[in-house]
Amino acid sequence: MAFDYDKWLRPGKLPHIWCPGCGHGIVMKGLIRAMDTLKLKKEETAIVSGIGCASRLPGYIDCCTLHTAHGRAAAFATGVKMAKPEMNVILVGGDGDGTAIGGNHFIHACRRNINMTYIIMNNYIYGMTGGQFSPCTPTGHKASTTPYGNPDPGFDIAKLAIGAGATFVARGTAFHANQIDKLIAEAIQHKGFSVVEILDDCPTTYGRRNKYKSVIEMMNRLKDVAVPVKAAEKMTAEQLQGKILTGVLYKEEKPEYIEEYAKVIERAKAAK
């Protein structure tokens, strides 16, 4: 039987704003399947986003949804989670929102290791504003503001998250649709701050400037560059050249912020 997405979608809010060929819808379906698998209660689940194409996702899902300001999702979400720790708090957004204007909030949410899940849809570009280069646009590539090729080196979001202290970091792609829900579900179940980067595509503002002839070609690229971490163990450095690891990249158990703050409350009460 086909999966029933409708029970998670808000009636009357579709069609979504995303262009044909954009992978954000694939990610949204993955998130819905993950929430369904985990039997999350809609009333007890907050989905928080910043600004951008990916950040429009919460509006379509029938939960407590908060579309904040550009880059600020992690900081708003931290407030929601601290005030109502029993809620499931899931952040969604794009690469520009999360790693440029929201970069500071992102690394500090990782550092605190607060029990939330952040899904970053990395399409290498600022899509909503028409295709300006982001901190994830590959060097040399074209964007509306890098007509002669991008001089900036890009971020590796997963490495950034691990370096900043996130205790669960995974990467998938919009092509590997069936893996997305599993990565997100595992991330939500992990106690601590979990980051799931989904390599995505933006045929409208990135693909056409960088000589991708079709959405299919962009999707095929995601298929070709992705190497599961397990498979990578048996590959040589040469074979891994130009490849991107997918799957659960990092996982560790560390004190979680809500639990640590509960100890602060205990100590404060004892000191009264």
């Binding site: 509006g59 300001a69 600020r72 407030g79």
Partner: protein, 377 residues
């Protein structure tokens, strides 16, 4: 039973006022000269299960209180000049999304880093015009430690009642001076609760104007599912660009305050009944003004003081009435003439408005004010 008294500075009083008002969530970022608020609340909030967060920056602190308020908490942040500039975008978010919160801002010298330990009153325009777009503004300017305590409570009440950010802005002198404070008993001062929805979750709309200009706000995690955005929105919380809806919603947000000015605006009238000269003052400057008015009276000059306690909305009605009665208005303020502009607007050319403006980090002394009172003919 005698009441509890203490010897506190304004910032400490602000923290205790917040606790009296039921504040259970604070997020801030260290900044001089307001950090004592954070220090007191970091110690006091967890004692009753409240949450204290020191965030990565000023913007994050503002974001965190807005998120926590949506989850049902009563929230406060504290900051000063540069921090207020940084928070402005999200103060606007609080205005358009209609999220109750209190922003406590200690006014220090500016612009930019300015004089972090010097007093000023140069953020009063920033309180109304700092964030872009049309929006309601409420800003309280206490003049003593006791009043800082009381006005923080009132700020929480106004933010809940009108579902909008409220600012409390003492100057650095009020924030750091120590005075005797008498604490009210529990229940003695009214604490206004948030208006919660009365409809079942499936009928709930976060901006449902059938309940008036201030619709009830449900908390995330209380059984209600709804959408919140910083985009112009419809009554159900979802974005719209429909001209008539955007116009009506924008007007309603501003009307929440404009139609209730008499409920919000507070002031003190001192020796005004027969006054020829009125000194309009606020914050610590009003303490020098009171002294100057007393000395002027001793010298036979009919001087009085109108003390602004609520800077925004501005007491237009009262100033307009005064302008028709007195020969001149004197305005001492620690900026280059911000309140002065408002007074000129209200005076409509009927009487001269004489300013004493200091931005050198020194308080305005009574002699300066007395000399200006004597200039009024």
């Amino acid at each position: 039973m005698s009441k509890k008294v203490a010897f506190l500075q304004g910032n400490e009083a602000a923290a205790y006022g917040a606790l009296y008002a039921g504040c259970d969530f604070f997020a801030g970022y260290p900044i001089t000269p307001s950090t004592e608020v954070s220090e007191v609340l970091s110690a006091e909030l967890p004692k009753t299960g409240g949450k204290f967060l020191q965030m990565e920056d000023e913007i994050a602190a503002m974001a965190a209180i807005l998120g926590a308020s949506l989850a049902g908490a009563k929230v406060l942040t504290s900051t000063s000049g540069p921090g207020l500039s940084l928070k402005q975008e999200l103060i606007g978010y609080g205005c358009i999304a209609e999220i109750p919160c209190v922003v406590y801002n200690v006014m220090r010298g500016g612009p930019s880093t300015g004089m972090p330990t010097g007093p000023s009153q140069s953020d009063v325009m920033c309180a109304k015009w700092g964030t872009h777009g049309d929006h309601p503004a409420i800003c309280l300017v206490p003049a003593s430690v006791q009043e800082t305590y009381e006005e923080v409570i009132r700020a929480f009440n106004l933010s809940e009642k009108y579902r909008t950010p409220v600012m409390v802005m003492p100057d650095e002198i009020v924030a750091h001076m120590r005075e005797r404070i008498v604490f009210p008993e529990p229940g003695e001062v009214e604490v206004v609760p948030r208006k919660s929805p009365t409809v079942p979750p499936e009928q709930y709309k976060p901006y449902d104007t059938s309940f008036g200009d201030v619709p009830p706000l449900a908390a995330f995690g209380s059984g209600y599912k709804f959408h919140v955005t910083g985009l112009n929105k419809m009554q159900d919380g979802f974005p719209t660009t429909k001209a008539e809806i955007v116009q009506a919603e924008e007007e309603r947000q501003v009307r929440k305050v404009d139609a209730n000015i008499d409920d919000i605006v507070t002031f003190e009238e001192y020796l005004l009944d027969d006054a020829d000269v009125v000194v309009v003052a606020y914050g610590s400057t009003s303490r020098s003004a009171r002294y100057a008015v007393n000395v002027a009276r001793e010298q036979g000059i009919k001087a009085g003081m109108f003390r602004i306690k609520t800077f925004w909305p501005f007491p237009d009605k009262q100033i307009k009435a005064l302008a028709g009665k007195v020969k001149g208005i004197v305005i001492p303020e620690m900026n280059l003439g911000m309140c002065s502009l408002e007074l000129e607007r209200c005076a409509q050319g009927k009487v001269p408005v004489l300013g004493i403006f200091r931005v050198d980090g020194e308080p305005i002394n009574p002699d300066q004010i007395l000399a200006k009172i004597k200039e009024v003919k």
